[in-house]
Amino acid sequence: MSWAGHSGRKAETLERAFVGRSLWADARARLFRNRAAVASMIVLAIITLMAIFAPLFSHYAYDAVDYDLVTCAPSWWPGDAACFAGGTHWFGTDAVGRDLFVRVLYGARVSLAVGVVATLVSLVIGVLYGATAGYLGGRVDALMMRAVDILYSLPFIFFVIILMVMFDRNFILLFVAIGAVVWLTMARIVRGQTLSAKQKEYIEAARAAGVSPFGIIVRHIIPNVVGPVVVYVTLTVPDVILTESFLSFLGLGIQEPLTSWGVLISDGANTMESAPWLLVFPALFMAVTLFCFNFIGDGLRDALDPKDY
C-alpha cells in the first residue's frame, strides 16, 4: 500500500473528515462510482418500468388472439407482407397471433417479481438464520442446521404439489414454494462463512466492547460475509426465474394466458427453426436482465469491501 495513491482523495477526506461515515454510506458512494453497476441499474430500472406500465406501450392486450396474424415475424422484418396488414407488431406474434412485445413485458412482471421477491426472501431468512446458527454454535447450531437438512431432503416437486393441493393453485404459492427452497442454500453458505468469521479477533473485541450477540451478528458478521452472499444472490436470481418456468411447464406455476420469460423461452425454443423471434426476444430480455444482476452483484461486492477501493 502506498500513500501516494491516497493523495488524490485528500481533498475529499479533508472535506468529509468531520462527518463520521459508515460502511453503508461508503459502499453506496463506491457503488455509484462503478460504471457497469450504474448502467446495469439504469437498464434494470427501464425494464422494470416497462413491465409495470406495459399496457401503455402497446395497444394490444397480452391475451388478444388474432388468427389472421399467426406466427408473424416482427413487422420491421423485410418479407412477409401478409402480416403488416394487421398493424405493427415490433416483436412479431406467436402461434395464436398474440403480440410478442406485450407478452414479453407481461412476462417480465412475473419473472422479475418471482426472481427478486424469492431471492430477497431467501436473502433475509437465509442470512439471518445462517448467521445466527453459525454465531451461536454448539447445540443451537446443530439443531438449526438439522432442520435445514430435513427441509433439503424433501423432494422439491413433491413439496410444491402438496402446497398446491393444500392451498389451491395460487400465484403467491409460487413465491412461497421457491423461496422455501432457495433460502436453505443461502443459510448454509452464510453459516459456513460465519463460522470462520466469528473466530476473528475483532468479534472478540466487539464482545469486549459489550456488543450484544444480535448486534455482533448484524454489525460485524453480516457485513463480513457479504462477499459470497452477493455472488450467490446473483446466481440465485436466474435460477429462480428458470425454476418458475419449470414449474409452469409442469402446470404448477403461471397458467395461460398469463406468461413469464421462462414460459416464453421454453415455447420459443420449440419453434426455434420456423419462428426464431419467439425465442430471441424473451431470451434477449432475460439475458440482459441477468447480466445486469451480475454487474450489480459484482459492484455490490466490491463496494462492500473497503480493501478493494
Binding site: 500500500m1 502506498s2 501516494a4 495513491g5 491516497h6 477526506t13 479533508l14 468529509r16 473528515a17 468531520f18 463520521g20 461515515r21 459508515s22 460502511l23 461508503d26 454454535g137 454448539g138 447445540r139 476473528k200 479477533e201 475483532y202 472478540e204 473485541a205 466487539a206 464482545r207 469486549a208 466492547a209 459489550g210 456488543v211 450484544s212 448486534g215 454489525r219 460485524h220 457485513p223 463480513n224 462492500l304 469491501d305 473497503p306 480493501k307 477501493y309
Partner: protein, 595 residues
C-alpha cells in the same frame, strides 16, 4: 569466491498506486559456512531482496542486477533450471510456518516430498531420512509427528518441520526470513540453537533476516542494516553493534528493550480493583476415533492474583501457557459452550462469574482489552472511527452523535492519531497506527483496567517503544490498572509493578518486578530470562543458556505440569497428579515447588 553474490539488485513493484521501489541496488556476499544477518523494520525490503534473488517475486515485481550462486547467474534462469537450486542447494524458511506448510498433507509426506522432488529415492529410505531429520531438529516422538497435520503441531514444532524440510536435501545456503518472530523466547532460543548447529556441524551458510537486533547479535558474523530498500550500514557484527555509525542503527539499538534498562514506573498501586481466586478454565478436547472420550484440556489451572488501581501486573509465559485464556476468563469473554471457567473473579468485590450476562455487559465499561494483532482485532469493514466509537455507543448508550464523534476525535488525538483519519479503514493504516486505534477503542470508555494481550508483540521495535511509552503515559494520566501480557520479558519489565510467570496454566513464580528479575528462583523463570536475546554480540555469545530440553509437554498430559518437580510425578498421563504449592520465599515473592 563467495557462495552467493548479489550485485546491484533492484526490485520494483508496479501497483495500482504507482511504482514501489522496494529494493534499491543492494549488493552483498555470503561466504560458505558463514551467517549474514539482515536487520530492518517492516517495509525495509529485506524480505523482497531475498525473494527476488530466489526468483520468488510476486507477478507485479521487476528485478534487475545480478545474483550469482557459485559464479552461476540465477537471475533470468527459466523456472525449471532455477528449481534445481531452489529447494536443494538454496532453501528458504519463512516466518509463518503454518501458511508455508500445506494444510492437507501430513508433515511426513511434505518432508518426503521435499526430499524426493530433487532426488530419486526409495520411499522407505526417504521416510527414514525424514524421521532422522525430525530428530535432528529435536522434534519429540518424530515417528508419530510424521503422521500429523501441520495444524496439530505447535508453532515451534511447525518451524522445526520447516527447518527439517529446508535442510533435508543438504543445502549450502539457508535463507531464514524472520524464522523466530512468531515464536516464544524459549522456543526461539531452541530454533536459533538448531540454526547455529546447522552452521557449525553442516557448514551451511545462513542468511538470517530479522527485525530483532538480539537475534542477529547472537548468530550473525556479518550484519547489514536495511531501511527503505537501501543498505544503511554493514560490517562485522562487533563493529555494527559496538560502534554503529549511522543514526538509524543507533536508534534501532536504542529502542530494543533490554533487561538492563532502568525502569521508571509512573504510578503507585491504590485501591483494590480485581481479585482473581483460583480461576480454572478447561476446554473439552475430543480424542482420536469415534468413541474416544473427551479429555479436559486445563488451559488455566488454579490461578489467583490481585490487582490494584494504577498497578501493572505483567503476565509472562510461552504460548499455550494460558495467559490469553486467563485474560479472557477475567474479561468474561469465554463462551460457555467452549470452556468451563471456574473460580471467582471479583471486580470491586462483586463476583463476575456468577453475574448475569446483562450485568457483565454493563460492567465492561470498567475493563477493556487491547489485542495482539492490531489488524485482526479491527473489523476490516468498519472505518476506524466507528470501531473506536463502538464501546462508547454500547456501554454508554443515549449519547448524542456529535458528542460521540467529539469523544472519538479527542481520543484519537490523545493516542497520537490524526483525528482526520476518522473515516480511514484499518488496511489503510500501518500496524503501529492500528494498535493506536485498538488502544483508543479500549480507552474511550475511561476504563479502570485495561488488559494488554501481547499488545506490542506484532510491532516493529521502534513502534513498540512508542506504544509502550503511550500506554505508560495513559496510565500515568488516568491511574489505570494494567494487566500486561507478553512473552517478551524485557518489555514486561518496562511497565510492571508485579510479574507473574505462567507455565501450562499454573503460576510458577510471582513477585515484585524488581525482585523477580534480580533473583529468579524457579528454573522456568531462569530459562525464560536467559532466553531473552540481548542486542550485544559479546553478551549473546558468552551467555550460557539454560535451555529447556527434552520433550515439549502436551498440556493434555497431566504429567506436563510437573516438568520441574519430577520427584513427585506419577508416570501415568491420566493420573491425578500432585499439585505444586506456591511457597513464599521472600516477602511477596512466591515460587512453585520444584526440584
Amino acid at each position: 569466491m563467495a557462495l552467493l553474490e548479489i550485485r546491484d539488485l533492484d526490485v520494483r513493484f508496479s501497483t495500482r498506486d504507482g511504482e514501489v521501489h522496494a529494493v534499491k541496488g543492494v549488493s552483498l556476499d555470503i561466504h560458505e559456512g558463514t551467517c549474514l544477518g539482515v536487520v530492518g523494520e517492516s517495509g525495509s525490503g529485506k524480505s523482497q531482496l531475498f525473494l527476488a534473488a530466489m526468483g520468488l517475486l510476486a507477478a507485479n515485481g521487476k528485478v534487475s542486477g545480478s545474483v550469482r550462486y557459485r559464479g552461476k547467474e540465477l537471475l533470468g534462469l527459466p523456472a525449471q533450471e532455477l528449481n534445481q537450486f531452489r529447494g536443494s542447494k538454496v532453501t528458504m524458511i519463512f516466518q509463518d510456518p503454518l501458511t508455508s506448510l500445506t494444510p492437507h498433507m501430513t508433515v511426513g509426506a511434505q518432508i518426503v516430498e521435499a526430499l524426493t522432488s530433487h532426488r530419486k529415492m526409495p520411499r522407505e529410505e526417504a521416510r527414514a531420512r525424514a524421521r532422522e531429520m525430525l530428530d535432528y531438529v529435536r522434534i519429540p516422538e518424530a515417528a508419530r509427528r510424521m503422521k500429523q497435520y501441520p495444524h496439530e503441531l505447535s508453532g515451534g514444532m511447525r518451524q522445526r518441520v520447516m527447518i527439517a524440510m529446508a535442510t533435508i536435501a543438504g543445502p549450502d545456503l539457508v535463507i531464514a526470513d524472520e524464522p523466530t518472530t512468531a515464536l516464544d523466547v524459549t522456543v526461539q532460543a531452541q530454533i536459533l540453537e538448531i540454526l547455529r548447529a546447522l552452521k557449525i556441524e553442516k557448514r551451511t551458510a545462513l542468511a538470517l533476516i530479522s527485525h530483532d537486533m538480539g537475534v542477529i547479535a547472537g548468530n550473525a558474523d556479518q550484519v547489514m542494516v536495511m531501511r527503505h530498500g537501501e543498505v544503511v550500514e554493514r560490517g562485522t557484527v562487533e563493529s555494527v553493534f559496538h560502534a554503529p555509525e549511522q543514526d538509524y542503527t543507533k536508534m534501532l539499538l536504542a529502542s530494543m528493550p533490554r533487561l538492563s534498562d532502568p525502569v521508571h514506573l509512573a504510578t503507585r498501586p491504590g485501591e483494590m480493583l480485581l481479585e482473581v481466586k483460583d480461576v480454572r478454565v478447561t476446554f473439552p478436547v475430543k480424542g482420536d476415533g469415534f468413541f474416544a472420550k473427551t479429555r479436559a484440556l486445563r488451559a488455566v489451572d488454579g490461578v489467583s492474583f490481585t490487582l490494584r488501581a494504577g498497578e501493572t501486573l505483567g503476565v509472562v509465559g510461552e504460548s499455550g501457557c494460558g495467559k490469553s485464556t486467563l485474560a479472557r476468563a477475567v474479561m468474561q469473554l469465554i463462551p460457555p459452550s467452549a470452556g468451563h471457567p471456574k473460580g471467582e473473579v471479583l471486580w470491586l468485590g462483586r463476583d463476575l462469574t456468577r453475574a448475569r450476562q446483562n450485568d457483565i455487559r454493563a460492567a465492561r465499561k470498567d475493563f477493556q482489552i487491547v489485542f495482539q494483532d492490531p489488524l485482526a482485532s479491527l473489523d476490516p469493514r468498519m472505518p476506524i472511527g466507528v470501531s473506536i466509537a463502538e464501546p462508547l455507543k454500547t456501554l454508554e448508550p443515549g449519547r448524542a452523535r456529535t458528542e460521540v464523534r467529539d469523544r472519538v476525535r479527542k481520543m484519537m488525538a490523545h493516542v497520537g492519531l490524526d483525528p482526520q483519519w476518522i473515516n480511514r479503514y484499518p488496511h489503510e493504516l500501518s500496524g503501529g497506527q492500528n494498535q493506536r486505534v485498538g488502544i483508543a477503542r479500549a480507552m474511550i470508555v475511561r476504563p479502570k483496567m485495561v488488559i494488554c494481550d501481547e499488545a506490542v508483540s506484532a510491532l516493529d521495535v521502534s513502534i513498540q517503544a512508542q506504544i509502550v511509552a503511550l500506554i505508560k503515559s495513559l496510565q500515568a494520566e488516568t491511574g489505570l490498572a494494567l494487566i500486561f501480557i507478553s512473552h517478551d520479558l524485557a518489555v514486561v519489565r518496562q511497565l510492571s509493578h508485579r510479574v507473574m510467570v505462567l507455565y501450562l496454566g499454573r503460576v510458577v513464580e510471582t513477585a515484585d518486578a524488581a525482585a523477580l528479575y534480580a533473583d529468579p528462583r524457579h528454573p522456568y523463570t531462569r530459562a525464560l530470562l536467559s532466553a531473552v536475546p540481548t542486542p550485544d554480540p559479546d553478551v549473546e555469545r558468552g551467555k550460557t543458556r539454560t535451555l529447556l530440553t527434552g520433550d515439549l509437554p502436551s498440556p493434555l498430559d497431566s504429567r506436563a505440569q510437573l516438568t520441574f518437580l519430577k520427584s513427585r510425578r506419577i508416570d501415568d498421563p491420566d493420573a491425578m497428579q500432585y499439585r505444586p504449592k506456591l511457597i513464599e520465599v521472600a516477602q511477596g515473592h512466591f515460587v512453585a515447588e520444584h526440584d
